[in-house]
C-alpha cells in the first residue's frame, strides 16, 4: 500500500506530540508549576527561555511540554470514552434492532440536537472546572457521530455472509458482535476517533476561553492560550507557542485521520481495487 503524505506528516506530528508528553519531565527545563519566579516574569524568548516566560515567571517552553500531557489526555481519553459509548450503543442497536434500536436512535438524535459544546458547557458548570470534569464533559457529548457510524456499519455488516454464517453456526449474539462485527467496523471508527481527538483538544481550548477549562496549576495548551489572549499584542509569545502546539497537534490528527480514511475506509479501498 502506498503511504500518503498526509498519513506520514499527520502521524509524525501526532507521534511527536505524544512523545513530548511522555518525555515531559526530561524535556522540560523547569517545573511547570513550582518554578514560578516573579523576578523572571514576562521575558521574551531568548536562549535561556526558549519560548519566553509568562506573567508568573514560568518557563513557557516547559509549560508547553507539560501541557502536552493534559491536552493529549483530554483528547485521547475523552475520545476514547466517546468511542466506547458510541460503539457499544451503535453496534448493539444496529445488530439487535427492535426497541433497543429505537432507544439508541432517540438518544443519538438527542445528542445531535444539543450542540456538543453547549452540552459540555452545561456539564462543566455542573461538575465544576477541572480535568476529570472536562474528560467527562467532552467524553459524554461527542459520541453520537461514532454511534451513527457504528450502527450503520453494524446494519450493513449484519447482512454480510460471515455474520449470517456465524448465526447459522449458533454463535451467541455477544460473540457475534465482538468477533464478527467489531473488528470489521474499526476502520471508520478509528478515523472518526482521530478526528474527534483533534476536536476535543479544540473544545478544551474553547471551554477554557468560556471560563470553564482545566484545573490549574497543571497547564493545558487550551488554558495557556486562553489566559494569554489579553496579551496578544503585548506579549505575543505567551499565546503563539501554545497556539502553535494546538494547531500542529490538531493538524496532525486531522491529517492522520484523512490518511487513515484513505487506507481503512472500504469505499475508497474498493474504488482502488
Amino acid at each position: 500500500m502506498k503511504l500518503r503524505a498526509n498519513l506520514i506528516i499527520g502521524g509524525v506530528l501526532f507521534a511527536l506530540a505524544i512523545l513530548v508528553g511522555l518525555l515531559a519531565p526530561w524535556l522540560a527545563h523547569t517545573d511547570p508549576v513550582m518554578d514560578a519566579n516573579l523576578m523572571n516574569a514576562e521575558e521574551a524568548p531568548s536562549w535561556t527561555w526558549w519560548f519566553g516566560t509568562d506573567g508568573q515567571g514560568r518557563d513557557i517552553y516547559s509549560r508547553v511540554v507539560y501541557g502536552a500531557r493534559v491536552s493529549l489526555t483530554v483528547g485521547i481519553v475523552s475520545q476514547l470514552i466517546n468511542s466506547i459509548i458510541g460503539v457499544a450503543l451503535g453496534l448493539s442497536a444496529g445488530y439487535l434492532g427492535g426497541w433497543w434500536d429505537d432507544v439508541v436512535n432517540a438518544l443519538t438524535n438527542l445528542m445531535l440536537a444539543i450542540p456538543s459544546l453547549i452540552f459540555a458547557l452545561a456539564i462543566m458548570a455542573v461538575l465544576g472546572p477541572g480535568l476529570t470534569s472536562l474528560l467527562i464533559a467532552l467524553g459524554l457529548t461527542n459520541w453520537s457521530f461514532t454511534c451513527r457510524i457504528a450502527r450503520a456499519s453494524a446494519l450493513s455488516l449484519k447482512s454480510q455472509g460471515y455474520v449470517q454464517a456465524a448465526t447459522v453456526l449458533g454463535y451467541g449474539d455477544l460473540r457475534i458482535m465482538i468477533t464478527q462485527l467489531l473488528p470489521n467496523m474499526l476502520g471508520p471508527i478509528v478515523v472518526i476517533g482521530t478526528l474527534g481527538m483533534g476536536s476535543a483538544v479544540l473544545s478544551e481550548a474553547a471551554l477554557s476561553f468560556l471560563g470553564l477549562g482545566v484545573r490549574p496549576p497543571f497547564p493545558s495548551w487550551g488554558s495557556m492560550l486562553s489566559e494569554a489572549r489579553d496579551q496578544i499584542t503585548t506579549a505575543p509569545w505567551l499565546s503563539v507557542f501554545p497556539g502553535l502546539a494546538i494547531f500542529l497537534t490538531v493538524l496532525g490528527l486531522n491529517l492522520l485521520g484523512d490518511g487513515l480514511r484513505d487506507i481503512l475506509d472500504p469505499q475508497s479501498r474498493s474504488r482502488r481495487r
Binding site: D102, Q160, Q164, A166
Partner: protein, 347 residues
C-alpha cells in the same frame, strides 16, 4: 450415478408446512402507513435424506427467505418447519445451537461470506469451540480433515481470506458449513459469484461431498443448468409461492406450469441463432400482487378464471409432481412439444 427414487415418508428430514413470511414495511411509531410484503406466502416443501432439492425462481420470488426461515434466521409469520423431527419454528433462542448442528448454509458471495479479520483456522475452529469441542487435538484433527475434504491444504489454514482466490474461498465456506457435521446443507447460489471456469470445481465438490457424507441439500440457483445437473427434485417458486414441484426429470422434460415453461424456454440455446421465447412483463411488485394466479398477467394461457380469487392451489398428481395452475393439463401437451423438440439434440 445413484438417484434416489420415491422413498417412504419417514425419510423426510426437513418438512416445511405452509410457511409464510411477511415483512411489514414502514410502520413504527408515527411512521408512514404500514404495508405488508408477502415475501413467502404459504410454502410447503419436504426434503428427504440424501436428497438434493433444487429451488429455482426469479429474483425476489422468496427463495432466500425460505432458506433463512429454515435456518432460523427469520421467524415465519405462520406455518411450521420440522427439522429432523424437531419443530424449529417458535423456538427459543437457546435452540439456535441445536439447529446449527443439523442445518448449515453455503452463501452466495465467497468474498462477503468470510470474516476478513479471521484466519481460516479460526473460522473453522470457533464453531467447534462454540459447540463444546475443547480438546485441542480433536479440533485440529477435524479442521485438518475438513480442509482436505474440500480440497485445501491444512498448511494454508493460517492465512486470511483475501489471500485466497474466489473458488478457494467458496471451498472454505463449504468447509465451514460442514465442520459441525450437519445433516442438511442449504446452498444459496453457491456458484453464481464465481468465475465461469471455477464453477465446475465447486459443483463437483458439492456432489462429491453429498455422496461421501450422506448430506441432504437444498440448492438455490438461477442457473437452470446447474439445478438440473444437481437436483433430485426441483421446486419452482413464483411470487412467494411454489408453482411447481417434482422430480427433476418431470420438471425439465414435462414442465406443467406455464411459468416453468417460460423459464426453460428463455434460456438461450448456443447452437441456435434463434429468437428467445419471451413472456412479457416483469415479476409483479410483491407489495401489490395480482389477483388470482400470480403469473396470470404474464401468462399467455391466462383466462378470466386465472384472475379470479382464490388463486389456484398446489395440486399433487401422480409421482409427486405438483402444479399450481388451473389449466396445467391443457397446457402440458403443447409445452412438451415446445421444449423437448428443438433442444435436446446435444452431441
Amino acid at each position: 450415478m445413484h438417484e434416489p427414487q420415491g422413498r417412504a415418508d419417514d425419510d423426510v428430514i426437513l418438512s416445511i408446512e405452509d410457511i409464510a413470511v411477511h415483512f411489514p414495511l414502514g410502520g413504527g411509531l408515527l411512521g408512514r402507513e404500514k404495508r405488508l410484503l408477502r415475501a413467502v406466502d404459504g410454502v410447503d416443501l419436504s426434503l428427504r435424506r440424501g436428497e438434493c432439492l433444487g429451488l429455482v425462481g426469479e429474483s425476489g420470488s422468496g427463495k432466500s427467505t425460505v432458506a433463512l426461515s429454515i435456518l432460523g434466521l427469520l421467524t415465519p409469520t405462520r406455518g411450521r418447519i420440522v427439522v429432523d423431527g424437531q419443530v424449529v419454528t417458535n423456538r427459543q433462542s437457546g435452540d439456535r445451537k441445536a439447529l446449527a448442528r443439523i442445518v448449515q448454509m453455503v452463501f452466495q458471495d465467497p468474498y462477503a461470506s468470510l470474516n476478513p479479520r479471521q484466519t481460516v483456522r479460526r473460522t473453522l475452529e470457533d464453531p467447534l469451540r462454540v459447540h463444546g469441542v475443547t480438546a485441542k487435538s480433536e479440533i485440529e484433527d477435524r479442521v485438518g480433515t475438513m480442509l482436505r475434504h474440500v480440497g485445501l491444504r491444512p498448511e494454508q489454514s493460517g492465512r486470511y481470506p483475501h489471500e485466497f482466490s474466489g473458488g478457494q474461498r467458496q471451498r472454505i465456506g463449504i468447509a465451514r458449513a460442514l465442520i459441525l457435521n450437519p445433516k442438511i446443507v442449504i446452498c444459496d447460489e453457491p456458484v453464481s459469484a464465481l468465475d465461469v471456469s471455477i464453477r465446475a470445481q465447486i459443483i463437483n465438490l458439492l456432489l462429491e461431498l453429498k455422496d461421501t457424507l450422506g448430506l441432504s441439500f437444498i440448492m438455490i440457483s438461477h442457473d437452470l443448468g446447474v439445478v438440473e445437473h444437481m437436483s433430485d427434485r426441483v421446486a419452482v417458486m413464483y411470487l412467494g409461492r411454489i408453482v411447481e414441484n417434482g422430480h427433476w426429470r418431470e420438471i425439465f422434460e414435462r414442465p406443467a406450469h406455464p411459468y416453468t415453461q417460460a423459464l426453460i424456454a428463455a434460456i438461450p440455446d448456443p447452437l441456435r441463432h434463434a429468437p428467445l421465447a419471451t413472456t412479457g412483463g416483469d415479476l409483479p411488485n410483491p407489495l401489490n400482487p395480482p389477483n388470482g394466479c400470480g403469473f396470470s398477467p404474464r401468462c399467455r394461457h391466462a383466462e378470466a378464471l386465472c384472475r379470479r380469487e382464490p388463486g389456484p392451489v398446489l395440486e399433487t398428481r401422480r409421482d409427486g409432481h405438483a402444479v399450481r395452475c388451473w389449466r396445467s393439463d391443457e397446457i402440458a401437451a403443447q409445452a412438451r412439444l415446445a421444449t423437448t423438440e428443438g433442444r435436446l439434440n446435444v452431441r
